[in-house]
């Protein structure tokens, strides 16, 4: 009887489920498309740092078409017709051209019809012709021969591969082409997913946090049920409301991660080069752009398009060089409060420390916590608009600075006679000396001469100036010559030599007087008369320059020396080129400093390589890892440098306010000097620089030091003693009486209070790591394994006592999250644990397998209800409730639609 009951119970329950127990997945709105996005990869800080050396499988393609829109509007105004409407259509044509072209290049590479161009041309497998080209193309000038090379590849791609490629270069199929084995699933080889990004949301949860928990998955689930609010089809222009900017997400699916690690960087490098070339020359562009093809070819495309890696992985293998650091600096422009804080940024300072400053100021920045303020904006477009607007504004500041500097140098070079300048300055010294009484004008003049001598000594001392080395780099850089080509007649070397001649004249004049007598104890220095660059460097930016007041004062007594012809009519100060021999000389130096300042951040704004930029916006550890400021494996192999140094020699500057250097040697064997690194070949540099030049540059920068610059400032006079140089780092102070030096070592102290009653002179020696870093960051492409960020390492050591520094990562598929969310209505803790291990959490192996097969077979729609019954299972799919039958044991083979 009991057995009968049990049998009856099982039979009846089975029959019940067979009749009407379709499991409904009802949570959220029903939408038709499956989620075509690559899995999200969440990482903590250390893993993010490690990931910077892995090529990304997903990017944000950012388009800023403000200038394109302006151009289109003017174009259609000239042509006639409804300019506004035509412009709007033109913008969409432009965007679709970009996406189509990207897609075409991707397809051609993936199908093996375009070779991969190696991102590291020093690799021995690099095709010979390409290697030769890259060695001869400077990064700061356009490389037309590369255009020709790509043209021959492009034309060749439709011919018989094996015969044709060897005519162009020694490409190897194994290394320089994408193969079937590079994919997990060969069927999806040439696919790419493209979405228009409406809003940053939990769909990009990996940019907002590290380890994803239950809360994150529920938010993701909610966002995925309304996916149309966040993503749209790339070509659905009705969804693209913002005409200024557009952000797209492009994912490459089904890559074999091991193979991709080897070829990924080459893939992105190739995409960037082919893309820049193709939009200008490829005949296929006319298929997309139609009648606007010629107009689009005139666009400076590298100004308009950015490829940004989506997450911690990168598109370019990070390098510790000036170009990479300058590009990484773009991250600062994403901040919502950028404009408020812009003036405090190094990039806008009169004498910037360079892109390495970011690394020094913050060695362990936050990561994966919305570091780019994505969540602060209503839409992805608004975020991008802010980002691009900030870039445009700062670039404008730099351009104006360069324009003014070059114009002034150009005019003064052609019109200022050096003999006249010499006699005028001599005359100014004589005039000032001859006056016993301190008249208002004489005080002014004494201050002017003080500024002149101070600024020129700081910049031009033959052996000791620390900025001389930097300015020398400006002289060697091709950047200014390249951008000013056809604007000014002379090149930067000519202007630099002009400045050096003036520097020599001023140096001679300033040294030939008895300075102590000339600027005696009665002399009161008005520091605000210096240029801002000097105040920032010497007085740590604690005051603002009021040099324009000096000009007003001067004009009360004298006529300006050199003016534009219109000055005689307008009387405007803007028509004055320079007011006196002293002003003119200082203006020339200021112009050189301005050009240097613009050169520091060249790669942030300018592109000469015909290669779309790809800054690692979401991974501040890319450059920190490359520069060894942050070491993801630090805990196991950290090494701290220890220092001991002593002042071995002191030189005395001729001019009181300026810096002098003395040699301080580190204890033998403790620290490897830069010079030694160069000699040993550990600093690899741009092939266009000669080794001797680098050594000379380093020597110029460091004076007689063996690798570490040690600055000594001398203060003789009570009134001008305070605050000469304040450099971060370890300091040694040495104060002396008149006859003997009494060393007073103060470790890690910035300000030294010397007993003014007994000491009449003080020396302080600062090991200035910043200037090493700044200078070193110029010698592209690589800096070696040791980068002297001592301070950074010490701070890092303190900062590393947290779990963020043990590398960890988690991966999740969007579709799995959506399936779980729709099935259960809420994602549980245990489900979260599975989801972040790239597993489904449907708790039913048949359902899990079904979900995989639906994805694999590209069956569109979402599961709306499901009936599992072994060999007779059914699934209904949105939006039309189309029913498929399948057998749980062999889903892939048996899945078919019911008639």
């Amino acid at each position: 009887m009991g057995k009968i009951f049990i049998f009856f119970f099982f039979f009846s329950s089975f029959a019940f489920s067979f009749d009407d127990d379709w499991t409904k997945w009802e949570k959220g709105e029903i939408h038709s498309k499956r989620i075509h996005l690559n899995p999200l990869r969440f990482t903590n800080r250390a893993q993010c740092a490690l990931d910077s050396n892995k090529p990304s499988e997903s990017i944000f393609l950012m388009i800023n078409n403000v200038s394109v829109a302006k151009g289109l509007y003017r174009f259609f105004k000239m042509k006639g017709g409804d300019a506004e409407d035509l412009t709007k259509k033109g913008i969409f044509t432009f965007r679709s051209t970009i996406i189509n072209l990207f897609s075409l290049i991707h397809r051609e590479i993936m199908k093996g019809r375009l070779p991969l161009l190696p991102s590291d041309s020093t690799d021995k497998k690099t095709p010979f012709v390409y290697k030769n080209l890259m060695e001869n193309c400077r990064s700061d000038t356009r490389c037309l021969s590369l255009d020709d090379y790509i043209k021959s590849i492009w034309q060749n791609r439709l011919k018989d591969k094996k015969l044709a490629w060897t005519d162009i270069d020694n490409f190897s199929f194994k290394n320089h082409f994408v193969l079937e084995s590079d994919f997990e699933n060969f069927d999806q080889k040439s696919e790419m997913y493209c979405h228009y990004l409406k809003k940053f949301s939990p769909l990009e949860a990996h940019l907002f946090g590290a380890k994803p928990g239950q809360d994150v998955f529920n938010k993701m689930g909610e966002a995925l049920t309304h996916v149309d609010k966040h993503l749209a089809n790339c070509f659905d222009f009705n969804e693209q409301k913002n005409l200024k900017v557009a952000a797209f997400q492009i994912d490459i699916p089904q890559l074999n991660s091991k193979k991709w690690k080897k070829k990924g960087f080459d893939y992105w490098h190739s995409i960037q080069l082919y893309f820049s070339w193709a939009i200008r020359y490829a005949p296929e562009v006319s298929l997309y752009a139609k009648e606007l093809t010629k107009l689009f070819r005139s666009i400076l495309i590298e100004d308009v398009v950015l490829f940004i890696p989506n997450g911690c992985k990168t598109l370019t293998s990070p390098k510790c060089d000036g170009d990479y650091l300058a590009l990484s600096h773009l991250r600062n422009f994403t901040r919502k409060e950028f404009k408020k804080n812009a003036l405090n940024l190094d990039i806008l300072s009169p004498l910037p420390e360079g892109p390495s400053k970011d690394l020094l100021d913050d060695e362990t920045p936050k990561v994966n916590t919305d570091i780019n303020d994505l969540g602060e904006f209503q839409s992805a477009e608004k975020w991008l608009e802010n980002f691009q607007d900030n870039i445009a504004q700062v670039k404008q500041v730099h351009k104006t600075k360069i324009l003014k500097a070059l114009t002034k140098l150009n005019l003064l070079y052609k019109n200022l006679d050096l003999n006249f300048l010499k006699s005028e300055i001599k005359e100014a010294f004589n005039f000032s000396k001859s006056k016993n009484t301190l008249t208002e004008y004489n005080l002014f003049l004494k201050n002017q001469l003080y500024y002149l001598c101070g600024e020129f000594t700081l910049s031009g001392h033959n052996d000791f100036s620390f900025i001389k080395g930097l300015l020398k780099i400006l002289e060697d850089s091709g950047f200014i010559n390249e951008i000013s080509k056809n604007f000014v007649d002379e090149n930067i070397q000519t202007y630099f030599s002009f400045y050096e001649k003036i520097s020599e004249i001023i140096g001679h004049q300033c040294n030939s007087i008895d300075q102590h007598a000339f600027w005696d104890d009665e002399f009161l220095l008005k520091k605000e008369g210096f240029f801002q660059w000097y105040l920032d460097k010497v007085y740590d930016g604690r005051m603002l320059s009021k040099i324009s007041l000096d000009l007003d004062f001067y004009l009360k007594y004298r006529k300006p020396l050199i003016v534009y012809p219109q000055y005689n009519v307008s009387g405007n100060k803007s028509d004055i080129i320079c007011a006196s021999a002293i002003f003119c000389s200082r203006d020339i130096l200021k112009s050189i400093v301005d050009l240097y300042a613009a050169t520091e951040y060249t790669n942030t704004f300018w592109s000469f390589e015909n290669k779309v930029k790809s800054p690692a916006l979401f991974n501040p550890y890319a450059e920190r890892t490359a520069c060894r400021v942050y070491d993801p494996w630090f805990k196991t192999k950290a090494t701290l440098f220890s220092f001991f140094h002593d002042v071995a020699k002191a030189s005395v500057s001729a001019v009181a306010p300026a810096a002098i250097f003395a040699s301080a040697t580190l204890k033998e064997g403790r620290v490897v000097s830069f010079k030694q690194l160069v000699n040993e070949g550990k600093i690899v540099y741009d092939v266009n620089y000669k080794k001797e030049k680098i050594q000379a540059g380093l020597f110029a920068d460091f004076g007689p030091l063996l690798g570490v610059p040690c600055m000594i400032s001398l203060a003789k006079f009570p009134l001008i003693r305070p605050s000469f140089f304040h450099f971060k780092g370890i300091q040694v102070g040495a104060c002396s009486t008149k006859n003997s030096y009494d060393l007073n070592v103060q470790s890690a102290s910035r300000d030294q209070n010397n007993d003014s009653n007994t000491k009449s002179a003080c020396l302080s020696c600062s090991i200035n790591f910043e200037s090493v870093a700044t200078t070193a960051s110029y010698f592209t492409p690589y800096l070696g394994s040791v980068f002297f960020f001592i301070r950074g390492i010490v701070r890092l050591y303190r900062g590393l006592k947290d779990p963020l520094n043990i590398p960890r990562s988690w991966e999740t598929r969007h579709q799995d999250v959506l399936d779980a969310y729709r099935k259960y209505g809420e994602i549980s803790k245990s489900c979260s644990r599975k989801l972040r291990k790239l597993k489904s959490c449907l708790k039913n192996s048949c359902e899990e397998d079904l979900a995989k097969v639906l994805h694999l077979k590209k069956i569109e729609g979402q599961i709306s209800s499901i009936l599992i019954d072994g060999d007779e299972s059914f699934v209904k799919m949105t939006p039309l409730d189309k029913v498929y039958s399948f057998s749980c044991s062999e889903i892939e083979k048996t899945l078919k639609p019911l008639e």
Binding site: V66, G71, M78, G80, R280, I301, D303, N415, I483, S484
Partner: protein, 178 residues
């Protein structure tokens, strides 16, 4: 000899002012076209420019990388009329014709689509362009011809002011108050 040249230039100027005209437009095919109409008297200018005695339609190249925020384009649009000035030197029509024939030039106006530096509503560059011509000679959109060879922008060539072409040159004029 010099006075003879001035006389000839003056003579040429009087006649050329009314004899032929020049227009610049975007065609139906989205191309930039420079159109020159010549009368019998000046047919040689047209003939030298395009082998037709009465009408030339010269396709003006699109300048690569000129639609963008480059330094040189910024410099040109901000310094036109001050650093880039028109000289007093009137160009011979035959010289102009041979330059047009080579097609190694682009045309800049204050309203050209390369000018992304002004807002589209207010154009501060117009006056700068107009200052290249004498007041009685400028037209609404002053045409400036700029060298463009091997995909690179070169120096300013000449400006068209009411039937005359004046050379564009860089100005280093200053006054020294010694």
């Amino acid at each position: 000899m010099i006075s003879l040249k001035i006389f000839l230039l003056f003579f040429a100027q009087i006649f050329s002012t009314f004899a032929w005209d020049l227009d610049f437009e975007i065609s139906e095919n989205y191309l930039q076209e420079l159109k020159i109409s010549c009368s019998d008297r000046d047919s040689e200018f047209c003939y030298q420019s395009c082998d037709d005695e009465f009408f030339c339609s010269i396709e003006v190249p699109f300048c690569q990388n000129c639609l963008g925020n480059s330094f040189l384009m910024t410099a040109i649009f901000s310094e036109i009329g001050r650093f880039y000035k028109s000289s007093e030197e009137l160009l011979e029509l035959s010289d102009v014709a041979s330059l047009l024939r080579e097609k190694k030039f682009i045309i800049l106006t204050s309203h050209i689509f390369y000018n992304i530096f002004d807002s589209t509503d207010f154009n501060s560059t117009t006056e700068k362009f107009q200052s290249l011509c004498r007041e009685d000679e400028f037209r609404e959109y002053t045409l400036v011809f700029w060298e463009y060879d091997s995909l690179e922008l070169g120096d300013g060539l000449f400006v068209f002011c009411k039937g005359q072409f004046f050379k564009i040159e860089k100005s280093y004029d200053v006054i020294l108050n010694l």
